[in-house]
Amino acid sequence: MRIGTLKESYAADEALFDTRTQKVWLALFFLALLIFPFTAGEYWLYIACLVAIHVISTTGLNILTGFTGLVSLGQAAFMGVGAYTVAVLEARFGTPTLVNLIAAGFVTAGVGALVGLPSLRVKGLYLAMATIAASFILHFIFANWTSVTQGVSGINVPPASVLGYEMARPVQLYWLILPVAVLMVLGAANLFRTRIGRAFIAIRDRDISAEVLGIPLLRTKLMSFALSSFYAGVAGGLWAYFFRVVTPESFPFLYSIFFLAAVIVGGMGTILGGILGAVFMTLVPEVLKLGVGLLSPVLPDAVAILSPVRTIVFGALIVGFLVFEPHGLAEIWRRTRRFFHLWPFKT
């Protein structure tokens, strides 16, 4: 049980991790992440890499949707931009992996800022439509700008290599993807202790008030779009190295809904929510696959219904969380923590 947390300075109040228990747990968590690749099998490493990529992209969408209040249904298309940037750079010019990833981030940030331009005039639902439109237009470009993207046949990506160390399998890629994910999540967490991050939150809470307070609306909104797309671009770049082939069909509209669902399920407007949501939503299809595997002796066509069941579960999760638990998994997590803090007293 904890009686209270005493803070003596503003710095302590603003700290990301305030109590010692929290720091100990965090250290243990990072230790587990370090040990993980040595103990887990190929399949679990594959899942871990996928989760890490989704965490980056979901955190990016969370910056835009959760913290700035601008709904975007184009996150998957932005990831596609990042993936194509990496694929083209790697396959054509053979530039170093890290440079490619950063370039993917910046190119996507530019595209994102362009897509965010309608936010000058519209917001809310209208803006969501604009991002839907943008994602279809981007998809069209992926499929038809054949001189660069090689159309529907897609681009094969050579394996990533950092400092002469080639990374082709999940075991090796883990050491590229995970540090990037940790860095980017920490960056996002720190963003909301700065002036820019606070401006985002002010815009979410009431954009007219924010403007009255002297926040330049258009510039800040575009910055949010660019930042969120930067995350998507890096995630897409890692995605390209992970799956090693990029086609227009790799980033369907449904994938954008997946990320939106992850943000909602995890909890909008909390960094922890983005992480929990991405982990949860990536694991759901795997659990379903497992369930189908168990059912297949009883139900012969169980495999056939896997994809529709997944679609239903995604939709039901969005609806269920919005109706019953609007603050998402992060809120459940907070309640659980609170229970242990206050135990044995009444919570």
């Binding site: 809310g124 209208y126 943008a134 909602i264 939709g315």
Partner: protein
């Protein structure tokens, strides 16, 4: 270059059939938005379910076409009412964005259910309109397109009359213009909400049957709803006239781009138009401009 006017007029006439369907779907959308301020992204999926219901009733149960259409439209209305009661009503008073995302979830659930019940393969609807072509002047028009156009136009006219003269329609308009005032005049606002969703569901199911008759049915036909979404954004979210004119605009644009530039340019043209309208005239051609105050 010699421009083939006959071909052009045939394409345009065929496009008008599609336009009428877009307008009808757009109308279903505007109906819900006007009454409940909900942007319903699941409209395309409601349309799809309507088409599949019709498919079950004709091909599965062997009912005659008119009976199957009636049942499918009633089924669509029930679906609309069920969605409203189950997930939209609890969201009353929540942020518009949350409700919008709920409808995305509903759409996803409907797609999955359709794939489980009817399978993921595209199928053709049984023919119930006949095949004999119709000529307007020299131009050939497919019979389905003509029937689709006339039915859609008739239904739209019916809706417009209902809004103007029927008690329920007037209650609906009253709720749209001021909820609190409507309440205090004794209008049962929650009932009006249900009513709006039922009518929208029925209209969507009807549109679905016509769309399915022209182009076949598949779980992915909900994409048609996205085009309808563009229609209402172009026309203005809360304007019935906007839905009609937007439908014609988008339908013609799609057909001309599809014919003269190639099928893959259809989506590009539609969404390009959407971006343009959002940038230049965000509340659409006839939409009410929302003025925000602190």
């Amino acid at each position: 270059m010699n421009f083939d006017w006959l071909f052009f007029s045939e394409v345009t006439l065929a496009a008008l059939g599609n336009s009428a369907l877009l307008s009808l779907t757009g109308l279903a959308f505007v109906l819900i938005y006007k009454a409940t301020r909900v942007v319903n992204l699941a409209i395309g999926e409601m349309l799809m379910v309507g088409a599949y219901l019709f498919f079950s009733f004709t091909a599965g149960l062997g009912l005659p076409a008119w009976g199957a259409i009636l049942l499918a439209v009633v089924g669509g209305a029930l679906l609309g009412a069920a969605i409203e009661r189950a997930v939209i009503r609890p969201m009353l008073g929540e942020a518009a964005i949350s409700v919008f995302m709920v409808t995305i979830g509903v759409g996803s659930v409907l797609i999955g259910l359709t794939e489980i019940i009817w399978g993921a393969e595209p199928t053709a609807l049984p023919d119930f309109m006949g095949k004999a072509p119709i000529f307007i002047g020299d131009a050939y028009v497919s019979r389905k397109v003509v029937i689709g156009f006339s039915v859609a136009a008739a239904v739209i006219a019916l809706f417009l009359l209902a809004f103007r003269f029927w008690r329920g329609g007037i209650a609906l308009r009253a709720t749209a213009s001021d909820q609190a005032a409507a309440y205090s005049c004794g209008i049962n606002v929650p009932a009006v909400f249900s009513l709006a969703w039922m009518f929208a569901g029925a209209a969507a199911a009807g549109a679905g049957i016509l769309v399915g008759a022209v182009g076949g049915i598949a779980p992915t036909m909900g994409v048609f709803g996205l085009s309808a979404l563009v229609v209402v954004i172009v026309g203005g979210l809360d304007s019935i006239a906007g839905a009609l004119i937007g439908g014609i605009l988008v339908g013609l644009l799609e057909a001309w781009c599809g014919t003269y530039l190639g099928g893959e340019y259809k989506m590009l043209a539609t969404f390009g138009l959407l971006m343009l309208v959002l940038l230049v005239r965000p509340y659409g051609l006839f939409g009410t401009v929302e003025i925000e105050r602190l």
